[in-house]
Symmetry: C2
Subunit: 307 residues, 2 copies
């Protein structure tokens, strides 16, 4: 297999793109692809102050590296969830994030969940029924709250997460099997800002997991190699397995599924179900002040209030 650009030995073959590349040209290609999607979906430009959600894993460090290389103004946020019982998962993940930021003199904000909210994610998950059944659901709630809080408090104009195509396709498949119109109507790679909300963007939405992993390895980025111990048996991992099988027998399946979904959204397939941001803004959580649909305490404050 030869690099399409220079003809030297390829290090990666991407049947989904009918493309093989050598190390040098792969490390140019992925940033260029990412930039193309940033522009295509109007995610942000050079005037934006971007907060990158960093877990210490391959995807988020590859994303931060690429945004930094592309010259965007970025700072990182590491949420220390305190998932450390017997695994030191969070401690080691944070070390990878800090080492990455230190090497590039980038600013990394850290929020320690255990210290700020008197309970680690592991403890919150163990205490609640929802957490025992679906720890990823509680973790998502906690991370969304903190990401939005930190980005609003510090005046960032965009909040970038490293959700990759495999993540997006798996979530989409799960939402489709449920025909969850609320979720299906808001699966775009950009969710606009609103009062109390920072714009959310997913620059890796069309990057295969294997592509971001290859990028991190080839760039020599040291990243946390372990999966979160809570994620075993999660719905998302379950559906990823199937999408991987389909991708294997029909290369490009994930990309077509996601691309065609975005086209369907654009052509009005799912009339918006969620409240418009301006309606949301009228309801604020009396405890934390973040927008909420509930009228009373937001889901995060219900969770941490232990009531």
């Amino acid at each position: 297999m030869r690099c399409r650009t220079c003809g030297s030995k390829a290090v990666i073959n991407m049947p989904q793109h009918r493309l093989a590349l050598c190390k040098v040209h792969y490390l140019e290609w992925l940033p260029a692809q990412t930039q193309r999607d940033i522009a295509k979906y109007h995610m942000f430009d050079n005037s934006d102050r971007i907060l990158v959600a960093v877990s210490g894993g391959k995807d988020s460090l590859a994303l931060w590296d690429i945004l930094w290389q592309l010259g965007y103004q970025t700072e990182g946020l590491y949420i220390d969830l305190g998932i450390d019982d017997g695994t030191t998962y969070s401690r080691r993940s944070g070390e990878y994030a800090q080492a990455f930021a230190g090497q590039r003199s980038l600013k990394l904000i850290t929020v320690n969940v255990g210290k700020e909210y008197s309970e680690t994610l592991t403890q919150m998950a163990a205490r609640t029924l929802r957490g025992r059944e679906k720890p990823c659901s509680v973790c998502g709630l906690v991370k969304r709250h903190i990401l939005n809080r930190v980005s609003v408090e510090n005046g960032y104009t965009a909040l970038a997460t490293a959700h990759n195509l495999d993540d997006e396709a798996a979530i989409l498949l799960a939402n489709t099997l449920d025909w969850s119109l609320e979720h299906l109507s808001r699966g775009q790679p950009v969710l606009p800002s609103g009062p109390g909300f920072t714009r959310k963007v997913k620059p890796f939405c069309r990057v295969y997991e294997r592509e971001s992993a290859a990028y991190s390895v080839l760039r020599g980025i040291a990243f946390m190699p372990d999966e979160c111990p809570h994620s075993t048996g999660s719905k998302q991992l379950y559906f990823k397995t199937y999408l991987n099988e389909w991708e294997e027998s029909m290369p490009g399946t994930k990309l077509r599924f996601y691309n065609n979904y975005l086209k369907a959204l654009d052509s009005g397939a799912f009339p918006a179900r969620q409240q418009a941001p301006e309606d949301l803004a009228k309801q604020r959580c009396p405890n934390c002040g973040q927008p909420t649909t509930s009228g009373g305490l937001c889901s995060f404050c219900v969770l941490i209030n232990k009531s």
Copy 2:
């Protein structure tokens, strides 16, 4: 496992309905379920003359048997596709259909594709690129044309096919992975009649394949046990395998997927993409006179004209 109705030994357990039944009560339950969906989706009533598409397999004979038991006015149509090379598939299928109709003194119309159109389905599939790649696609085209022709010519007011839940869910999954809006906007169990079109209904749309199979076996209906030799490797069979795996680990998956899709359709997802029947009617195929979207010859006439 005990029958929920009478407590005697159950012959079938349906985790998706949390229901186990004995033979007597199962043979009452499935017709009642079918009647419930016929009413729920306003498929037809006692004044309708219903043409049942009969293949000789377990689903279509179970459907015809149930509609006959429920007292509806039904006649059957068997399309002899001439899939007989080395298998006598069509010949034997026809014999099952005729035996069924004969035992109940029901009228069965037979259309012999080889005689009426000078070519069997096997020959059409072998002659065309589309047929060599996707014989099921060509077969579907031929059957849809003939079913509509016979039902219009003979003044039937409804055309019933025995598509079961497994069929509908597999087609839905394939159409969803493509986000094919034209198909997704018309997946209802009833497609209304229009000029040149008979109303199409699917009374088994929420009946699991295993339920219709169990019904045929328990009722002592003799049916064609073989799968069509052309269907090996079809997309529909491919996706059925996955849906079966999901159903196994999450009972009710197929039913929720299909039910929630119908709810999504009802609440405005997929605004109709296809032309309205009255627009279609303005365009008729100059050869066969059936409605067509193409403006020129319909797809069926293009196929049989060998041009």
